[in-house]
Subunit: 224 residues, 4 copies
């Protein structure tokens, strides 16, 4: 049984907004896709794509790709970062999800999706005097892109927004490079059984920019 | 510049299914909520809820709670686990997101949402002879609930499915207990400015089970 | 009389393509706007806008702004640069045009329009061992933005295309800053009788990006 | 970052007339020539002609020659002047464009196009007591044709309009002569890989007068 501290708020009710949202899911999507959910429960999931995305409330992959149940295996952390391969016996949340998606689910594609106005990237560009908390978990996490952040910060001829976008895109390429440090990823990519992709979402305009695998540039896909 | 291994698949195109999904997002949701997206870009995000969910492709929080842009700040890792507070200077993806949501975005609610047929939980209940990869990231990650997993495994009177469900729910309570090891969480909870919740989603039936904060039991919410 | 070197090609005829284009102008635009041309000849020109644009054959201001006779007073030099105010008695082609537009024609707006894939900017980013000619006029001209070019070149985490776009936009802001070094410009701007603008044209997509006067960022105008 | 004077007009919006013109370009020319623009972006420009024209709003080369994207590399300065070759390490806007067009783009033709009622030529013929601005950039720039201007001014048997036209045409021949002072021009002309031309546009009648390379006279081209 869970231990309940004497002073906890006993009456905290589940957020009403979430319950309402859930009810609309049941009367809507679930009602229309009942069989799909049952089938997915029976046969298990077999998503073709792993998406590494940001926690940002404005950039949910299922929304942006209008994806249904079973389509996307999704890791979400601050600033959609992939740390380099490091089999050191520590807890590696993102590496664990990556290993599971590639080795167990055998996804065919990995997409690292960043977005504009990312709070994590902003934090990396403007390190604060004091951390958000004594643990300074954000500071440590974003230090993964510290070298790039310092590099970009030096470019004072760029506007703040331009530096932000630059680092957002650099960090996507950085995460893709880190993906390749995982043996299971690089081996399967060489065997052409796995492809890596980058994408950047503009919250304001809704534009999706796709990374050109040749050059690393971000370009908008042709309208269909 | 991004380093491109000589042998990489140069022509790998962005998954067509995702592009089609994106196009339907643009002509659908974005077209109807353009102003909302622009406003969210201008004024920044201010979600009221942080959700710790699983990477599973069948259990996306935005789908289950029919949530729109700006509503949910979402962390997704394998088996929706929250590690205990550990300010050891290592990279802690989930702790970083938690810190950002609580300290910077000042969310009012944290929901740990588990689900049925969780692959991570299954892995914890049936440790394999050899890990998925030399790094054994999943093995290490799921070892967070190893004590509970061993405990449940001994329960041979329960069926395999019952043990699975049991551990799925135990690990939700475990993650909520870990949330309280973070000073910023426990302090704000005592001040009644933050509430913690548990939820469990049944992929097959679509049922959402809410954790009773008193007892830790999972119950069906009243139909409205 | 013009001196004609003995060895010059005496029969060089005027390019046929230009003559054909001229004939289509006469039977088309001029035929439809005869009165406008006559009026513009009688009363003289009174354009409201001075545009400083690039010589590039793909970025003609009259084309991009679908402008008719009498609308735009246009300076075109390599990379649409405005040198700083320098009353040193030397020949200053761009400064002369600026002076004429502001003091004599009393334009209300000045637009510095850059564009993607600019050859001058590319030259500034990749200085060559030997100049195009002994005079090295391009090298000298582009040295106006040399400090920014060096700055941008250092950012090796950006792709070549990203560095190119960055410098194209930086140099537009640089030219606008230089415009303000001209007393006649800064005085009239303060009197709110003259406004300065930046724009960047994407040859490939046809997109026009407008400089935000507050931040210096380039943004796409709202569709009408 | 761009420096913004405290007193600048912060709300200055981009001229609406230009935005409307741009929208009509996009729905018109660009819509019809999208592939041409994309191809020009991909493969780069390769114009056959460099035109040295005047900034005058009534004499845009693309309009008069009904030229499409990629056809004309255009330098525009006051009175379409080409200064003599002067490798003195100073900034030479026109010489830089000339060097780029001839050495890098390898144009086949250079056209110096003047026009009637040229404000720069008028200024050269009637030097004012006080310059347009303390820098007197126009005065200095037009001093390039000062000897001819004085000469013509003495011709009191000619009407003012005749003197104006005379100097407009003399300065075209003068600029062509200056073009030949550039080694890269004279060498290529001798090799018959580059031809030089003069043209004069009558704003009122729309007539284009072509310079006879033999005599230097301006004549009307044969109607086709």
């Amino acid at each position: 049984m869970i231990r309940i501290p004497a002073n906890r708020i006993c009456m905290s009710a589940f957020p009403e907004q979430l319950l309402n949202g859930y009810r609309s899911f049941m009367s809507g999507r679930y009602a229309h896709e009942t069989n799909r959910y049952r089938e997915l429960a029976r046969s298990g999931q077999s998503p073709e794509t792993l998406i590494v995305a940001c926690c940002d409330s404005r950039a949910a992959p299922e929304t942006i790709f209008d994806a249904g149940p079973g389509e996307l295996f999704v890791v979400r952390n601050v600033a959609n970062l992939v740390p380099p391969y490091s089999p050191d016996g520590e807890y590696h949340s993102t590496s664990a999800a990556l290993e599971f998606a590639v080795q167990s689910l055998k996804v065919k594609n990995i997409v690292v999706m960043g977005h504009g106005r990312c709070g994590g990237i902003r934090a990396a560009l403007s390190p604060v005097a004091e951390p958000l908390s004594p643990g300074d978990f954000i500071g440590k996490w974003m230090s993964l892109v510290a070298p790039a952040a310092e590099d970009v910060s030096k470019n004072t001829m760029l506007t703040a927004a331009e530096r932000q976008t630059a680092l957002e895109r650099i960090s996507i390429r950085f995460s893709i490079a880190n993906l390749r440090t995982f043996p299971c990823v690089s081996i399967l990519e060489k065997k052409e059984r796995l492809t890596l992709h980058g994408a950047w979402f503009d919250i304001s305009t809704g534009e999706l920019w796709i990374m050109n695998p040749e050059t690393g540039d971000f370009e908008r896909p042709e309208a269909e």
